[in-house]
Subunit: 326 residues, 2 copies
């Protein structure tokens, strides 16, 4: 997993060059996030009829305003490989709906029992527990309804057989990464380790990170490329990049739980140690954890540079994801 | 909605003839239900890895042993139109998984708070609430993973373009009938009316029945036909039949809540009246409700007779669904 020394040196040069581009990146991030948000919202269902209440709860949850990172990644990679917006935009909305449903259910009293998220009342706290359960179900289901709509759009494409094949594959990636072999699997292991924190080993910890977090990031990195007909080699690279970023992102989270301030993070810190939770930091120390984040980031950057990047946005986004201080 | 007199008379003749076939029907029902059960179980995920616990909870829920009515209907109509088993069998499993997830979430303390179902502990009661929430999520997601696998099988079919088109349509029907425009929508209205039982009118009551119950029965009646390339007219008839059966099934349930015995039904009776719930019986009386069930059943039977039935199984199944005494 360690990148050779010369590659690391190259990367360091690159990093210095990009320091001056920070303003450009921040501006672009803002523009592209807004565009992503606009696309996601376009696919939300109308709040009408006898099911109005559950649709309101679903839309309330999606509109709580996340970073829209996963759909943003779909759009970036889709544009990189020239995918058709009529194919990838519904997938952007679908992935964000799946991410949102997982938060709605995670926040339930039977799960993490969170009353607030990003300073806003959680869905169950506004609509009641029962409605929050079916709002999550409704979002997961509507994600598939939305993405499946793309199969119909294929019939209008220049080469329907090619489009069908790509869309089928993208649908399958979307589904698999969200289920028991992806996010739900990671949540299961996470619930189990919370019950028996002392029995968790590094293998299980890495399983949780790679499934609970990285699987959905992998959908973000690969679906756009699949829809754009990227070479298999590139799709494989994007999956490795996503795995590294997802893991680095989580280890960084563990580090911040020790070094961050409550004010910076907007959440209580030191919670992991208090709960006797095994984390990458408790296993390898702050320095070891920091080194791992750098290694994972470097390897991902090296792979990313080999892809047909349109500009410096993706490498900078990747660094901001793993090197974030909040 | 009333069938003309001569058709009703025909139907009565038919009904008499079929009385002698009851043994045959019961035997066939047993054989075909077992076959359906075997197919559904073949698609259940292996209980292994770090996600083992949630997979156990999912399989426990599916194996609780329902009537397998919805997948049975898919198989019957698929055979009627000569669909390929590699196309329709995964849909049978998927539809049963969706039906099962809805029961798992319905039973949660935050919803109906049921500790037992069919004499067996409910999923949350065995695995805990958090695990039951994600087991339901896992089932819904795995239903789509399972059904989406069929898109791959299309590539091996004699005419991939035709298969893709039918499977796409079946996938969309599966998704839509389960979501906010189907079952989840019905559940939402049902939760709302439980909060305000006196404000429910007949229109809303019919909405709940046609969405919470009939939508999933519609998937059962139409998906097999769609996959077999049935004429649009037949698919439309099957949707009407499903709507009638679903509604008749629910009204019959309301009737039994008044006339049935606890022992027959295996659940507490008189619950609706106690809770001040508006039902078809409270609106139209026992006689009016019984007449409605007969009307709906007759109309469905007339439509069914026009389809290319292989034997008398489906008409008898339909009557057993609406005329059941438990």
């Amino acid at each position: 997993m360690t990148a050779p020394a010369e590659i690391t040196a190259d990367r360091l040069d690159l990093r210095e060059k990009e320091m001056v581009n920070t303003d450009w990146f921040n501006e672009e991030l803002d523009i592209r996030t807004k565009k992503t948000d606009e696309i996601v919202c376009r696919f939300l269902p109308e709040e009408e009829g006898y099911a109005r209440r559950v649709i309101e709860a679903m839309n309330y949850s999606v509109l709580a305003g996340g970073k829209r990172l996963r759909p943003l990644l779909i759009r970036e990679t889709a544009i990189m490989y020239g995918a058709n917006p009529s194919l990838y935009e519904p997938f952007m909305a679908a992935l964000e709906m799946i991410h949102t449903y997982s938060l709605v259910h995670d926040d339930l009293p039977a799960m993490d029992n969170d009353e607030y998220r990003r300073g806003r009342k959680t869905t169950w706290n506004v609509y009641g527990e029962g409605m929050a359960v079916i709002a999550g179900d409704g979002l997961l289901n509507y994600a598939f309804e939305t993405a499946l709509g793309v199969l119909k759009a294929c019939e209008e494409c220049a080469d329907p057989a090619v489009s069908f094949s790509r869309v089928s594959r993208a649908l399958y990636v979307l589904a698999r990464n969200a289920g028991i072999y992806g996010m739900v699997g990671g949540q299961c292991a996470d619930i189990q380790t919370q019950l028996h924190p002392q029995q968790t080993d590094e293998e299980e910890l890495l399983y949780i990170h790679s499934h609970k977090t990285a699987a959905m990031i992998e959908s973000g990195f690969t679906i756009g490329a699949i829809l754009g007909g990227a070479p298999q080699e590139d799709i494989d690279s994007l999956a490795v990049i996503a795995g590294n970023v997802g893991l680095a992102f989580q280890i960084r989270d563990d580090i911040l739980d020790v070094t961050g301030t409550q004010q910076d993070l907007g959440k209580s810190i030191g919670k992991d140690a208090e709960e006797g939770k095994i984390t990458y930091v408790s296993l390898h120390g702050l320095e070891g954890a920091g080194e791992k984040v750098r290694e994972l980031t470097d390897e991902a950057l090296v792979l990313l540079e080999k892809l047909p990047l349109k500009d410096r946005f993706l490498p900078m986004l990747l660094q901001s994801m793993t090197g974030r201080n909040k």
